[in-house]
């Protein structure tokens, strides 16, 4: 047994097993086994290619097929734009909102945060319905308040390939900004007050305090929020599925990665029922995004996710 430090529990694993075992058991059953099963499935022969036994292994053939699939690459490109756009806008808007709420009188802070949080509480399907019924269309809010007043022709947002992806980004930004603002505001509240007092004595402007004190104070939370939005964006399904009815929209302009995987896997989507290929796609993308997220987190030296 290793030396026990003050305020620390027994140095052996078995003593802590009652605390660790439930998590490890659930993790093994519902995460590790499906993960390994998914990799195994990705190496099986696809139903459309079956010539011998249904479960014959094809090695990495399905991974190569995935990479050669132009529609898969297109869905990845769309997903990258979707994730990038959502990240940039949500992080910037969340930061400025949190900074402005932090500067407000305390009695207004709670209510402002709660009101901004409301879209996060709505189902992605509800946001999609609202987008379709309220914002979309010739008489929708976007055309009425943004396009027509500028003397431009009304835009058919969901039928125009150039606008489908920005609409999906707007929906994601609408959903997550409030939650991120709350997190960043909590981070700003934790910054010692004396830093602001010193800056004020030295005559620092509001902008200088925002960039010199607030931003460094919540940088680790911006990174954490960024990783969360990145993972959520890569795996985004419900909003696009509800808005585009399970398709990728006109010319697949809104086809995201998970929607395409669903189309490949189930006949209701694209009629292909190709689970091995869909598994290979999932394994490829999820592994890459997990490794990316891991290295992004390793970049930071201290903060919310240190072990």
């Amino acid at each position: 047994m290793s030396e026990v430090k003050a305020g620390r529990f027994w140095g052996n694993f078995p003593a802590l097993l009652p605390l660790l075992a439930p998590f490890l058991v659930f993790w093994a059953i519902f995460w590790l086994m499906p993960l390994l099963g998914g990799v195994e499935l990705a190496m099986e022969e696809s139903p459309s290619l079956i010539k011998t036994e249904p479960s014959a292994s094809t090695g990495f053939n399905n991974f190569l097929r995935a990479l050669e699939d132009a529609k898969f690459r297109h869905s990845l490109e769309n997903t990258a734009w979707f994730v990038g756009g959502t990240l940039l806008v949500t992080l910037a808007l969340g930061f400025f909102l949190a900074a402005f709420i932090y500067r407000m009188k305390r009695r207004y802070q709670g209510i402002s945060l709660f009101l901004l949080l409301i879209p996060s509480l709505a189902m992605p399907g509800t946001l999609a319905s609202l987008f379709y019924l309220f914002f979309h269309g010739k008489s929708g809010a976007l055309n009425q308040f943004l396009v027509i007043p500028l003397g431009l022709e009304p835009v058919n947002w969901m039928m125009s390939p150039a606008w489908i992806l920005p609409c999906l980004v707007a929906q994601a930004v609408w959903r997550w900004t409030g939650l991120l603002t709350l997190l960043l505001y909590c981070g700003m509240r934790a910054i010692p007050r004396w830093q602001f007092e010193v800056a004020r004595i030295e005559g620092a402007s509001s902008l200088a305090m925002m960039l010199g004190i607030l931003y460094p104070g919540v940088r680790h939370l911006l990174l954490f929020g960024g990783v969360f939005l990145f993972i959520d964006g890569v795996a985004s399904f419900s909003g696009a599925y509800s808005l585009l009815g399970g398709s990728g929209g006109v010319m697949d302009a809104g086809l995201l990665f998970v929607t395409y995987v669903y189309q490949v896997a189930f006949p209701g989507g694209g009629g292909r029922f190709d689970l091995p290929l869909a598994s290979a796609m999932c394994a490829l993308v999820a592994s890459c995004s997990a490794i990316c997220g891991f290295f992004i987190l390793r970049l930071r030296k201290s903060g919310a996710l240190r072990g």
């Binding site: 529990f9 003593a15 909102l97 407000m104 009101l115 409301i118 509800s242 891991f294």
Partner: protein
């Protein structure tokens, strides 16, 4: 002056964010014709026909859908709190070989997108013969990496003297965890509510695993948003309002505690 600029900016964003929801609530009393004119806010009459139709079980059994979603999201949040807080406690207050490995596992559970696992999880559950069972959906989300990381930081702030005291009294690590659990009640509530939110909104996995007769709220909303327009749009919007209501109540009631717990968490 600086208060004024802040208020105007936040007020403007809040208005743009919230106006569609006010419109949504009022549109649950509108006919399709009124809804397709989004410039009009108020309905011609406040006839709650959409709510009557929604709860009449003519289209879907909405009571059952609501109960199923509450059971799944509530059950998953409850078990996730128990399981991940125990692991978080062990990581925060235990020194053991393999600690880094457990933390790394939790981190990769966060980083590996769950939706990308849904397909293989669906296959795995089919092999185990639990496809279509609510318990399969409920327990699949219990091992939350975010929960482990969150609680490990929460327990790190619990004074070490309490652990020393527990050891002097001969308590086991598990006994000590149970004793200290009430001290982190705000964190338990915060994580529970956040996990409930994510489980409540989960769409893909229930779509794959549960049958057409076992709808959860996201699936019911997708069904009610009928592209053939046979179902009045107001019914789908009413379902959206009803789906938001439990979360609004939960967040409204616990909001102060959530803010406090998050403020303490972000500095750890």
């Amino acid at each position: 002056m600086r208060y004024l600029i802040s208020r105007i900016f936040v007020g403007l964003v809040a208005l743009i964010t919230l106006y569609p929801f006010i419109w949504m609530v009022l549109s649950t009393f509108k006919t399709n014709r009124e809804i397709y004119q989004p410039g009009h806010l108020l309905p011609q009459s406040f006839d709650p026909f959409a709510y009557r139709l929604l709860f009449s079980a003519e289209l879907i059994d909405f009571y059952e859908v609501l109960a199923r979603s509450i059971l799944l999201a509530g059950g998953q949040a409850f078990f996730a709190c128990l399981v991940t807080s125990a692991t978080g406690f062990a990581l925060a207050k235990g020194d053991f070989r393999g600690k880094s490995a457990v933390f790394l596992i939790a981190l990769f559970v966060i980083l590996y997108p769950r939706q990308a696992m849904s397909l293989s999880l669906f296959e795995w559950m089919a092999q185990m013969g639990i496809t279509g069972s609510l318990s399969g959906v409920l327990f699949s989300g219990v091992a939350s990496g975010l929960g482990v990381v969150f609680f490990s930081q929460v327990f790190r702030k619990v004074p070490d003297e309490l652990i020393d005291l527990a050891q002097v009294e001969g308590q086991s690590p598990f006994g000590c965890y149970l004793t200290l659990l009430p001290l982190v009640l705000p964190a338990l509530i915060t994580y529970g509510v956040l996990h409930f939110l994510l489980a409540w909104q989960d769409h893909l996995f229930p779509l794959l695993v549960l049958g057409a007769e076992q709808l959860t709220l996201p699936l019911a909303l997708a069904k009610l948003a009928d592209s053939s327009h046979r179902i009045p749009e107001a019914v789908g919007l009413a379902a959206g309002v009803m789906a938001m209501l439990p979360l609004l109540l939960l967040f409204g009631y616990f909001f102060r505690r959530i803010r406090t717990a998050l403020s303490e968490w972000v500095v750890s």
